[in-house]
Symmetry: D2
Subunit: 296 residues, 4 copies
């Protein structure tokens, strides 16, 4: 299939590699020539502009951009995708942005005859390389079926979350909960260990009890509990604290717009923010346990 890919970032390189390996033709554009080089080294063709990608004979265009303002500009700006794209090209935005913006852009696309999916991704650079990403997809089910051939070579699942914007809703809700549970595990593990428990034993108890969660059984923040979690490598790699702050910011902003309180969510955002303010924003978000551990 002919695929356009705009906005590569750190994850775009491995994603492009996987698509090319699966036999797709890739036309890529990114402001960073380094990011483009990773993709062209893997066999992609470089385009000179968003407009060139939009105007070429692609069947699908995938975008992955840092924030809503970039998404709006790339789609709706002068010389943006919508200005040049042929009808029937399927548009997939894999950025993580707020649901309302995603719905606005999708509505604009639909107005001129292009189906659009929001498909934020989870799994990080590791998942991108391994092809085990999860896509949370908002839009028409039929459009998701058209996209599966591409999404399936990059990820292990693409979940249909409902109409436009719902992929973003699912991601923001999931990551809100993730941000909270990680601090919860940090508090519970730190307290238990300070009170005299062995961290591995405590994690085992929790993982077979009602406190069980992904943050405790798959990504435990306490050093020494798991060999393959960021805690085992000084909290490098993984999902950066500053990215968690961004996602919690999307959650609290969306909550404000719909008049919904988020007591633990908003407090969690501030706790990560205070941690980042101390220069730790690049560490994996599970490093938040350092806030609670006196020796560190």
């Amino acid at each position: 299939m002919q695929i356009g890919f705009i906005g590569l970032g750190n994850m775009g390189g491995p994603m492009a590699h996987n698509m090319i390996q699966a036999g797709h033709d890739l036309l890529v554009f990114d402001l960073s020539s380094d990011a483009v080089k990773v993709a062209t080294d893997a066999g992609a063709t470089a385009a000179g502009s968003v407009a060139e990608v939009a105007g070429s004979a692609v069947e699908i265009i995938i975008t992955m951009l840092p924030a809503a303002m970039h998404v709006k500009q790339v789609y709706q700006g002068e010389n943006g995708i919508l200005a040049g794209v042929a009808p029937q090209v399927l548009l997939i935005d894999a950025s993580t942005i707020d649901p309302l913006s995603a719905r606005e852009v999708a509505a604009a696309a639909q107005e001129q005859g292009n189906a659009m999916l929001d498909a934020p991704v989870s799994g990080g650079t590791g998942g991108a390389a391994a092809g085990t990403l999860t896509f949370m997809v908002g839009g028409e089910a039929a459009d998701l079926e058209r996209a599966r051939g591409v999404l399936d070579v990059m990820g292990k699942q693409a979940i249909h979350c409902g109409p436009s914007g719902n992929g973003q809703v699912a991601k923001v809700a999931n990551n809100l909960l993730l941000g909270i549970t990680m601090i919860g595990v940090s508090e519970a593990m730190s307290l238990g260990v300070t009170l005299g428990m062995d961290p591995k034993v405590l994690a085992e108890v929790i993982n077979t009890s009602s406190g069980r969660c992904w943050s405790s059984d798959t990504y435990n923040p306490f050093p020494g509990v798991m060999d393959n979690a960021p805690a085992a490598r000084g909290y490098s790699g993984g999902f950066g604290t500053d990215l968690m702050i961004k996602d919690l910011g999307l959650a609290t902003e969306a909550a404000k717009q719909v008049g919904q309180p988020l007591l633990l969510g908003a407090l969690s955002q501030q706790i990560y923010q205070g941690f980042s303010a101390k220069g730790q924003g690049q560490l994996d978000f599970s490093a938040i346990i350092k806030n609670y551990r006196q020796e560190e």
Copy 2:
């Protein structure tokens, strides 16, 4: 085996029933004659006082009391267990109390030659009836082995958490995390649904993603998501909000004593407390989602 059982409460009846069914002889004492009757109807013998139980030819005494002050009184008070019990009788306190008090009482028991285990229980009245309770056990491993014959007829597992008091530490740490994740799930589910997602779909996404936790995949608080959770029956039964407040109080009190901050834990305690103050303390703690749902 000859077993003494002091402090039956709601769970003691079914626990006694299961022990008697397994062939044990039970001598019970409780201030409530109703609670005693449930046990004697199941085949237990009633004792007239704590001292009578302590002075009889039992091999194990199990206690299950509301708070640390009762435990101290029953064990260390005039006419308490320690005043009359024969050496070598194994003492098991299944109450949920603070770890420091548990260690104090265990040390007093040990001084006069009685081994003691702290073995707080989770699983609720349902688990007590079904014999699927979990015991989190602090004390000597050898003493736990002596107790297994009895614990195993009441529960599905008895986890050794380390020396005296560690059963309480494990329980307090687990329930701290549970109290936090339940509010986290309430915030995430409420936000996602308000933003347009179907609650069942959202729960499915979360349960296969990094937000996954027992509060979402086993005990989801959103009405309509699970058939067998308290949310499906108006939040009746289950684990009462006031019990969660008690456990979070044990966590924040223990944290204060060891100088450990619990930001989300303390805030969660207050959120449940505010909910209880509005007359909802008897509802299952997952009813806290009502705080976040505008229609309710």
Copy 3:
């Protein structure tokens, strides 16, 4: 002096009245004809557009708009103020918006030779009518002196807070603290009264002790303590909860941009948001004490 006034809202009417009483000529524009009528009834002249105000022979233009996006549009949009205003006209934005947006607009104004002040106002509609508003002013001191003749007829003080944007900074910092202290007073008064104190006596003790604050000694939220606070009239009038949510939103948003944590501030925002979600957003923000009072 010839003055243009764009964006009247609820407070613009009395402000216009005071300026006209002081002998100024007023040319006003607002999208709401009702708001315009209040001003023209007081002696102002109505303009048909922003451009008409900008193009007329005024010495000062005052704007007072709901949010940053309106300010940007009115100043920087096509047919906006900057497109048509003569150099040397002093621009005063009395809106409450985020400091960064205020600085952007001021920089744009300066580029084409217009001095601009940000001058958010506190004191509410009551202060507008009485002419006792406070203006917190960012910009050049000399420009503030040029504006004093006008600001002084509307308010009792105009404080110079530093360069462009600092008026907004001062307002956002003050209202952040106000939002927190009001909840603090609500918690302290509710707890003290529940524990057996007379509310008036408790307020007196606090007001002569280290808990003293404007929220306790001038605007006490407990009913019966003060005759002239919103608590004495069912929390009507005053400073609406939804406006406090807006201001706390500006604070947490600005804090996120500069990587500063706001633990109590963010939690306070959510507490007001939860209160508003229950349909109370129109009540004065001191009504937040209802969250803590069981009888209400």
Copy 4:
């Protein structure tokens, strides 16, 4: 007047000095011989035990002890005050403890014919030396009048807060609010300065606006704003963070007992607790602003 004084601590020395200077005879007891020496150097007589003080011909006994358990022991223990004191001796407990314990002890005193006042004190060691303490007094008004001759030489005011225990209620409510406002000022000042304001100017604006509070206008935590606040001397002296944690602990504990939520209060307690856990518990509580200031 003949006065017994039990439990001197840091403040008892200067308080004893002031009483002796005013012509009173003082019989003192403390477990620390250093503390006793300060008082005897000032002219007091040392007693060998609580019982000796209780049994001597005093008209008033003042106690000032670290926590409720000490108060109960000193009054109600074997050889405690109530076991030996003559009827009509007025008992004044100047300790800061929870209201319920204060009421219990006062009721026990009253049962055997001794009037008792709870009179927790604020003002710190500085106020003790200068004789400018504030006493918040619970008990009968007539008993307070009997005590005024003594209290007035130690403090600048003794406020009648209502019946027994209400002195403690007033103190706990005031200090709850104080603990919150200090963090509120820390957040507001830090945010404002990070956004570009001069700290002195920001404090001036706040102090004449609705954010005004004792923590900003009398005890501002931002270095450089006030010459005589702890911030000007590295946060030494003043009211220690660990004492604030104790008082907030009394507030949250009392709130739990009466089923009252304290969202900001409980979170504030944890914020101070986290600060103390990093080894800063001896600093004045206004040092909490260090949590928010990146350069520190």
